[in-house]
Amino acid sequence: MYTIVAGGGKVGANVARSLLRMGHEVTLVEQRPARFERLQEEFEHQVLLGDATELHILELAGIGRPPQLVLAATGDDEDNLIICQLAREGYRVPKVVARVNDPRNQEHFDLLGIAQTVCATSNILGLVEHEIPEHGIVHLLELRKENLEIVELQIDRDSPAAGKRLAGLSLPAGARLISVMRNGRSELAEDRTVLRPGDQVLAVLEPGKEDELKRVLLRS
C-alpha cells in the first residue's frame, strides 16, 4: 500500500516508521527544515521537505498515483483539513485520515465531511472521564463511520434499573447493552442478567440517545 504522511512530528514519524516496517511504501512530508534534516537521517529518500498544503509538494510526494491513504498529521488543524480536501477532491485519494489537535475543531472536520479523524486530546479526556465514576456517562469510543458510540455507565443505588433484569428494561431504540462488569469481572449482557448497584455497564448506541439511556439506567 502507498501512503503519504503529512507532518513529520512524533505522530507522523511514528506512523511512517510503522508502515515501513509492515512493508508498505511511504512518503513523509515535513516543512520545518531542522526537523526534516533529522528525519532524513532515518527515512532517507522517503522524506520530502515542503508544505503538504501546496499542490506542487503533494505532486512531488506522488499524490497523482494516487496513494491508497493520505494521513494528515501536522500540528495544525487547518492544514490537516485542507490536505484531506486536496487529496480527496483533487486527486481521488480513496482514504484520508486527519489528526485533530484541538478537540474544539472537531466540529469543523465533521461539517466539511472529513469523517476519519483522530484526536489524542479527546481520547485522553475519555480516559480521564473513565476514572471519575460520578460522571454518569463515559464516552469510550466513537465509531464515526458506523454512526455509533460505545459508552460506559455505572449503576448506583437510586438507579431505576438496579435490581431489574435486562429483559425488563425499556431501552431506547438504537441502544443496546454489551456487557456488565461486577467486582472486576465482565460478562456479556444477557436478558436474564440482573443489574446491581456498582455495576459498570457498557452500551452501544446511536449518538443523541445518551439522555434516553441515562433516564433508564441512571436516574428517573
Binding site: 498544503t53 501546496e54 499542490l55 506542487h56 495544525d76 488543524d77 487547518e78 492544514d79 483539513l81 485542507i82 486536496l86 477532491e89 483533487g90 474544539r104 475543531n105 466540529e107 469543523h108 461539517l111 466539511l112
Partner: protein, 139 residues
C-alpha cells in the same frame, strides 16, 4: 447591510473601513486586540477579539446575520477553512476568501468558493506591464 471581516490586518481593516464609511454595519474580528488601532480613531463598527476558527467568536461577530463575509487572516488554510465553515454552517452566500497561493485559490474557486489571490493579481499585473513594454519596443 452587514459585513463581517475576519482578520483585521492591512487588507481586512481597509475593507472594513471602506464599507463602514458607506454606512454598512461592519464587525471586524482579529486575534490581536492591537488590530483595533488599524480601524482608525473613533471606529464606530464592531470589533471582536478572537480566532475565526472559534464558533463562539463567529457567533459573537453575528456571522449568522451577515450579508457578506470577508476572510483575510494571514493564513491561507485558516481562511479556506473559515470560509467554508461560514458558508456551510451559516448558509452565507457571499463569502470572499483571501488566498495568497494561486494554486490553492484556483483549486477552491473551481469548487465554488470566491477566492481572491493577491499573488495572482501581482503576477498578472506585472506580466501585463512587461507586455506593454514589449509592444512599445516592437513599434
Amino acid at each position: 447591510m452587514k459585513l463581517v471581516v475576519i482578520g483585521c490586518g492591512r487588507v481586512g481593516s481597509a475593507v472594513a473601513r471602506e464599507f463602514r464609511a458607506e454606512g454598512w454595519d461592519v464587525v471586524a474580528v482579529d486575534e490581536k486586540e492591537e488590530a483595533l488601532t488599524r480601524l482608525g480613531p473613533g471606529w464606530s463598527g464592531g470589533f471582536v477579539v478572537g480566532h475565526g476558527m472559534d464558533s463562539e467568536i463567529l457567533r459573537r461577530a453575528g456571522v449568522d446575520e451577515a450579508d457578506a463575509v470577508v476572510v483575510a487572516t494571514n493564513g491561507d488554510n485558516t481562511n479556506l477553512v473559515i470560509g467554508q465553515v461560514v458558508r456551510k454552517r451559516y448558509g452565507i452566500e457571499h463569502v470572499v476568501v483571501r488566498v495568497l497561493d494561486p494554486a490553492r485559490a484556483e483549486f477552491y474557486a473551481k469548487r465554488g468558493m470566491q477566492t481572491v489571490s493577491p499573488t495572482q493579481t501581482a503576477i498578472s499585473e506585472l506580466a501585463a506591464r512587461v507586455r506593454v513594454a514589449e509592444k512599445a519596443m516592437a513599434s
